[in-house]
Symmetry: D3
């Protein structure tokens, strides 16, 4: 069993808040992350998949193919977007790094299966200090 | 003459666009950076100042003081904010990295003089691939 | 189950040695890390906790709270300190990265429980080449 | 149980291809990685070992010893070399990052046992975007 | 006057040697960099240009355009290539980082002029320890 | 004219203080950097030299030679040392990053001349947030 990880990046705006809260209540719970006019991040997404090395090629899957899938299923939908407003797969979810990691897992799981590998981990870095990992 | 550099960071949303353009015209000029619902970045700000080493202390200026000035004059005004909407010193300017570097220079120049040093350079990194430098 | 990681940093002096050894014996076992006048590092501490996403907030725990706990229980006690001489929770222990990771785990475990999450991993980087991980 | 990781680096040339394929077939499967005149990378190798802290020294193993083993068994054989042509332990294998991680595991496993620890993981970064992990 | 820097990356093989030297003589002068079967690097190229901020757009030049020029004039010619054998603009030159920086300057200078800006600096990183800068 | 930069690293302990001050006075001026039992850093030293490319070799100087000089004149004297107590070329100086950069310049200037190049810049990073540059 071998694990390979592909990094992709996207830049997006978001806001942590609840619509049923006032701005003051949101500020109390979510701090400056609830700024009504949004803020943003350079997100780094690390997708780890696992499987057996293909004896015909020496690799698990073609990383170019994996990268293309991540781009079409995730990056194209979130890069230079507003995570709260523009991203269909985040509809109805909190725009937290945690929920983003979970929904990205759901976007990619079946696509990785079709490649003959298994999705192992989503790691999402919001900043050099904060990151999230999800294993399904 | 010695040069010291302090790094500070902020996360902000922005949009590149002109109000007198349609969304289509903005898209043609500014690409995905003109997304109407904003996007954002983890900005890294490097402030370089220069002067003589103080023979009483062995340093140019106290970096804690320099950091406090950068925080009160810049970081507190841009961190977790929308650069187009929330930042008074960017009022009426394009929210580009270039204009942000220039206005940050203006915010800091006199404050650094008061410390007995001279502002030398503002370097602003918008992403690992894109950065701007301004020397006044 | 979701995992989140917070990075904090501290700068400290230390020395690897045994009091019952001569300087020569310490040099033979611990090499230049046993320099009698100390040396030091910029340590990077990565604290990973795990648990369920809170459906009321969309996050596992408030990272600001987690950061405050790491600061009060660990960083304030080790930053700009001598690990052998100044750090009460390292009393009687070798000032190795291994022992530092283990004692930091002990400092944080109960505090993380009180947040409604579980401490999963302490990763401590002493340099870009050397790091330690502890899972309890 | 404690885990320690040592990073070492090497710069090497390689090519992904099959001898029984034409250049066109190799290009179709392996893309630009099949360039007949080779290309190359700055590889970063992270070796993680695990075991109990030695109560006589406060560390798992002496990292200087671990580093010397990685250098003699791996780095000296691959650094500034052609992975397809110059590396005996890659003889007959595809020069992929996957196969390199697996063969490095095999080079190091017994040597780590002799130190009184257990090899836990080989992580090999080919670029800032692509990496492989192998756990045996 | 404002300065902007764009980073692009390429992975290539090379060898430092003189054809009029024996392998032993090349080894004496160029060390392991003269390995006859090549070695390689992940190069990082930082292109800095300077000029006035365009009052119509708020930026110096469109970074997407600058990136496209660097890709067509440089990256497409060197990425996944052998610098000694495959790169026409390095024909007859030593495949050193110094000569690569100088020839990349020559490839880009006129193109940057056409954008209405001036090429200021080429910085080329061969590894985390070694880099070259050229100002024309 | 070409510029090349070599990075070397060292880990050291230091303390900012004046012997003619009490601990309280030192704390008021130098903050936690005056901790009487020292603290420490992973320093990164970037040495930039300039000159003409040698037409016989394609490089400015052999980087292996430059590295050896930096090691013998600087790194061997400061690595795993106490900058206040163990470093002869810092005798009588404040152990600040500023003074360390200046004295390292003095240690290297003549040695670089002997290589047929000119020392251009010393950059010394004390942490990811703080660095100093000196041009003589």
């Amino acid at each position: 069993m071998i694990y390979i990880t592909r990094r992709e990046r996207f830049n997006a705006a978001h806001r942590l808040f609840r619509e049923d809260f006032t701005d003051e209540e949101n500020l109390a719970i979510f701090g400056k992350c609830s700024n009504p006019n949004w803020h943003g991040h350079n997100y780094q997404l690390f997708v780890t998949i696992k499987g057996e090395v293909n004896p015909e090629t020496g690799f698990l899957v073609n990383l170019k193919t994996l990268s293309a899938i991540i781009k079409s299923r995730v990056i194209d939908k979130v890069d230079h977007k507003n995570i709260n407003l523009d991203v269909s797969f985040m509809n109805g979810e909190f725009a937290s790094t945690e929920m983003l990691a979970i929904t990205i897992w759901n976007e990619l799981f079946d696509e990785v299966e079709k490649l003959g590998a298994t999705l192992h981990k989503i790691r999402l870095e919001e900043s050099e200090n904060n990151s999230v990992e999800y294993y399904g």
